[in-house]
Subunit: 385 residues, 2 copies
């Protein structure tokens, strides 16, 4: 198994379990696909190969724990109308559902492949992908089959919206034949618990049915207003609950006590002009916070975790280091992954080299494509410059 020594690291952000988050003038050794050693450059051991990074910063590869990449169609006209102050088109998701159902498997696969490649170029090395634009037995199952070609972190989100007809009958479908068809391709089950989507009893039924099929639960909750979703997530001991824009003190206490991670999705608030969630309040209360892109064609068509990091600092009260941790180490925890998101011996050698001397530049230089190269499993993905 060959080893590679990376030198010339001005700043190595490790988020290691023990020891400091950040090392200066550091080096890192990879053996095969794994990190074998991190430490001061002056103490670096020998290796088969040596790559000088020329004074750049290195961070763990981003872990994007929330995306909706399996879709077809474009909603840029809806976006333009919303930005001009027109009311949010309630039919938005349904537009995408119609286009997704009409697309071939090959079209869906090619589209997801392009978006995954776009994410990789921006430093995302682990990502979750949800279904939720099929909303029939056939279309949910094939959405997940497409997603599973790109990641192990696939999530069944048949309970995204009620496509038509009686909500109770649709929940029967989701928890019955749709789940049967989807479960072989999914690791997670999710529901959109919000006024106008699924109520707390329906969301609970979906998560419990999923669990009976071996799927672990996650939840969309408290995005558009206050509600019981976040407390349901805490009660069920879910690993993460996503959005968390509208929280009362009892919600925050429940998250702290349960250890459930609050995954914030600031791209949504940017692209819908809604108020941002308050990350500072959560962190100060002792809640763990992740950030993710929520990449989807309606409410947040960014695929950029660097952009989300910049927003988290500008809009949600996080420090640059907290925001990068939320998009790497805590993103990994939100997927219950202990192999990625951190750079220390034994972890996967997934890392991002920045054209900058510090991870702070991800917030200090918003919008600038600072990703110089990406390594996945110990191998350089692409030279971009």
């Amino acid at each position: 198994m060959s080893s590679t020594l990376l030198t010339g690291i001005a700043e190595l952000t490790t988020f290691a379990t023990d020891g400091p988050d950040v090392l200066e003038r550091a080096a890192l050794v990879m053996e095969g696909s794994t990190v074998a050693w991190v430490g001061p450059e002056a103490e670096a051991p020998d290796a088969d190969e040596r790559v000088d990074l020329g004074g750049r910063a290195v961070i763990p590869g981003f872990v994007d724990s929330h995306s909706h990449l399996v879709f077809a169609g474009d909603r840029s006209a809806e976006f333009t109308a919303r930005m001009a102050g027109e009311a949010y088109a309630a039919g938005g998701i349904r537009t995408t559902v119609a286009a997704t159902r009409a697309a071939t498997d090959e079209q869906l696969t090619a589209h997801v492949g392009r978006l995954v490649q776009e994410m990789r170029r921006q430093g995302t090395t682990t990502l979750e992908i949800k279904s939720g634009y099929g909303l029939t037995v056939r279309d949910e199952a094939r959405s997940l089959a497409v997603a599973a070609q790109f990641t192990d972190e696939t999530t069944f989100l048949g309970a995204h919206v009620v496509p038509e007809g009686d909500p109770a009958a649709y929940v029967e479908l989701v928890t019955g034949p749709m789940l049967d068809a989807a479960a072989p391709y999914a690791r997670w089950v999710d529901a959109f618990c919000e006024t106008g989507a699924f109520d707390v009893d329906q969301a609970r039924a979906v998560l419990e049915a999923g669990r009976a099929h071996g799927l672990r639960g996650r939840l969309h909750a408290n995005q558009l207003g206050p509600g019981p979703g976040v407390r349901l997530a805490a009660e069920l001991g879910l690993v993460a609950v996503d959005h968390c824009t509208y929280l009362d003190d009892a919600d925050v206490d429940a998250l702290r006590d349960s250890g459930t991670i609050a995954t914030l999705l600031p791209g949504v608030e940017f692209s819908t002009r809604q108020p941002y969630p308050d990350a500072r309040r959560l962190l100060d209360a002792g809640v763990r916070v992740a950030i993710a892109s929520d990449c989807n064609p309606g409410s947040s068509f960014t695929s950029s975790l660097p952009f989300c990091v910049a927003l988290a600092v500008r809009e949600m009260g996080m420090t640059p280091t907290e925001a990068v941790r939320a998009a790497t180490a805590t993103g990994a925890a939100a997927l219950d992954r202990d192999d990625v998101g951190v750079l220390e011996p034994g972890r996967r050698a997934d890392l991002v080299v920045l054209d900058a001397p510090s991870h702070v530049h991800l917030a200090y230089r918003p919008g600038v494509p600072l990703v110089s190269s990406v390594w996945m499993g110990g191998r350089p993905l692409t030279p971009f410059s």
Copy 2:
């Protein structure tokens, strides 16, 4: 002179003087460094070479009419402190002045070159560069000599801040020996007209002295609070006045009546957490609006006009098309350039190919590096993907 035909343009944004702003299913012919023809793909004439852009959108190259690229040093720690709510460090600019004075010409040139290359990769094909971190006769002149290696649009900004001592004596220096030394390398003269920097009489003196040396005036004004700077710019008939965050109705009327362009710099408000200027109000009043990066190490270290376009839509009430026009055609007008910023016969063939079907995606997909390729003077700059 060889000609090249670009086909497969899903959407061609021209901002042509006559005719529609946007053509669908279009083509464009370049002859040498110039646009020779634009129109529907079905009517395209022949050319020596033919390049199929595969259904991508094309826009004019971005024109960044306001940047401060000649500097040394890093102020990311100041940025982090500001984001944590600590008061803006008044010594900020002076930190950069000290580092800039200490840098060699070669170091400054290499640093500007890196930033210009970074801008090109993001689609900026014309840019302005100011001095203003030297603030001595020698350091202002050499800053401009460095800038002039990269652009014709160089601006003498000795009146950026009073470095030390008596403001009146410093204005004497700026309008005397410093201007004599700087003028050979500059096209424009600029001053920071704001409480705490230069008052309206000092700003007027600087602009008039510059004009006597053949330099045209521009102005920083009304960034941090209301003031007389914008009305001075209108009175003097300047082509543009920059920042324009705090405007009263008389300011807006003066801009409309004089035709002076308001150049808004939303990267500053993003990175200082200040309120954004109201582009909608200006446009509705009939004022021409440009947007630029203000790329500088203190208040706005973005070099990304795509990011500024997204902010202009999210935060300043512009439509996507208005924002792209502000960063191209109106940016060119703010530099009094009639050869760039627009794609029509006779203009320079400076254009950006987007990995997207429409320029709307620059706002719809914030933070995503959508620039597929950049053509300058009829030649492809770099393939990026």
